[in-house]
Symmetry: C2
Subunit: 344 residues, 2 copies
């Protein structure tokens, strides 16, 4: 049959010789409640099947004021961290009978604002946003709770909005302490987007680890402006040429880590012999790299699942209550990219 030649309630009603309401009732499983004769009910069901009827969700949504759709707004779906999250969200949403509208903002706040507007016009019932994170003013409108929203990965401490994020301070602490314990004192920190919690918390953890070890923070060793691989590449090139005493690098994202890898490899600098490296975001390939990479793992599947759960809790309940903020601990996965300087 022709996929566009969609049957409607009217078609069925016409063929059976009944009214659309009856058809609607039967097809929504309310035949019993309305005590519709089982004969008509069966004929309707049969005809619906024959015509391959399925309801127009736009019409349904318009009428019911619910679209059975949620929105997901993500900075860059090709980043494996975000992709894994998206996978979880699509699957969880589908399990609950919801469709997913996806927007990729390319780490651009303007596009993010635009995307959120777009989704609202589509009468989505809830929204999961992995915000770019520098500016959160466009989320203020959501604090009223009229449209359920949950923030993931990055959030805004000053907004009363539910969120799920990794403990980024802890992650950076773990990573930096790990290196310090192995004798490193000149550790560069290659950063992502300044102003985002994901970045700033990590930088804070880095500073804290140094400070508690009595190592002065050298501001020149903190560089980088975005989570992309170019950042890792450029800053590493600069760092290694400027600071000959550098022994370690902390890369604040997996993409940045790639850039570092590339730059180091070009410069003929071996890991961990000359430079040690720890990266945020454990990846399937991390263990198989030339030097198996010591990483900070964020539990992205759990984050995605929690986000969906939080969202649907709010969609379900009319009285959402206090927005929860959930912070998941990070974990240091020790492999072989950090050299122990205390040995020999």
């Amino acid at each position: 049959m022709d996929p566009a030649a969609t049957a409607t309630l009217k078609t069925i009603a016409g063929r059976i010789g009944t009214s659309v309401s009856t058809v609607s009732r039967v097809l929504n499983g309310r035949a019993r409640t309305y005590r519709i004769s089982s004969e008509t009910a069966e004929r309707i069901l049969a005809m619906a099947k024959e015509l391959n009827f399925s309801p127009n969700m736009l019409a349904k949504g318009l009428r019911l004021r619910r679209s059975n759709t949620i929105g997901l707004v993500i900075p860059d779906i090709s980043n494996p961290f975000f992709a894994a999250m998206t996978h979880t969200v699509t699957v969880e949403a589908r399990n609950r009978g919801y469709s997913l509208l996806l927007c990729d903002t390319q780490e651009d706040t303007l596009r993010e604002v635009e995307a959120i507007g777009l989704l609202q016009n589509r009468m989505i019932e809830g929204l999961i946003v992995l915000p770019v994170g520098q500016d959160g003013r466009h989320f203020e409108a959501f604090t009223s709770g009229s449209l359920p929203l949950v923030l993931v990965d990055r959030y805004f401490p000053y907004l009363r909005l539910p969120y799920v994020a990794a403990d980024n301070v802890l992650g950076a602490l773990q990573a930096t302490r790990h290196m310090i314990e192995r004798g490193h004192r000149r550790i560069a920190c290659i950063c992502g987007l300044p102003g985002s919690t994901a970045n700033d918390d990590r930088v804070r953890g880095y500073r804290q680890a140094l400070t508690e070890a009595g190592i002065a923070v050298d501001e020149r060793l903190i560089a980088g402006q975005s989570f992309g691989s170019q950042t890792g590449y450029i800053e590493t090139k600069l760092m290694v040429s400027r600071f000959k005493d550098l022994t370690a690098i902390l890369a604040l994202s997996n993409l940045i880590g790639f850039g570092v890898l590339q730059a180091l490899s070009e410069e003929g600098i071996s890991i961990p012999e000359r430079i040690s490296l720890v990266c945020f975001d454990d990846q399937p390939y991390s263990a198989f790299l030339a030097t198996p990479m010591t990483t900070i793992r964020q539990r992205h599947a759990e984050m995605g699942q929690l986000a969906v759960k939080l969202l649907f809790d709010r969609i379900a309940s009319s009285t959402p209550g206090e927005p929860e903020g959930i912070i998941l601990p990070t974990e240091l996965i020790e492999r072989r990219s950090v050299r122990d300087l205390r040995i020999h």
Copy 2:
């Protein structure tokens, strides 16, 4: 303002004291055509801005029979190959003012059928599907062209449907020849989903390369049933224990490649010294692996862009013409995972 307190045409009309039709006309830029007095027009525009009006796309879609939405159906968004594709599609769709409904089928034909049905109810204007690919009967309905559809990555030769795919035969030929030229004769092929063009074409290329080199195909060296990493792991474990004379493996996906890597590493088998390896799908990390991986690159960004272009061509034109099938050449990226057995 409250994101849920949406203003409608009626709200504006009420406040201005005009009819909804006039408001609609002005807001759709038809003030001139309908010669609406510039005074009313301006007042309407001002009020719309003040109320932060934006049209309900469900209502609009219902009325206009177009939703400004396309659907994307993908086997597994967390696979980097598909993620990259998704990125391209989201961005391209957005550039054209379209939203994207995403479904992740988890490589399951049943879910795929379900997803496509779901999307149709949402009155999407076009559909891009990366099919699971074993069974294509549910696509027959689309050959009439009533709803534009383009297949990507895998397709069905017997269905007259537009598609974009890589030249999988060529890819496998390149990979296998590359190994044969370096003296390998016992080459295992670890396969993905049988019945899908992506898999079967690759297997065909593998066979062809062996045959043209006068090497008998050993069916026991062809194994595997899915594109996941478990396949690579399991089959590699088996292969290396069964066939001591094996010198090379062709992995038909990046995920399979991971499994191979893991199994080989567990068995203490070094690449390429004892076993050589070529994988399908070049990835950002491929160059940075313990042994930089020789891969077959598929031009996924181009594939995504072409798919979107093909789709929107069909959406735009009422007379779609003959469905085009586009095959993009693959490229062998030579790194260091293949040993040259002719040397010493």
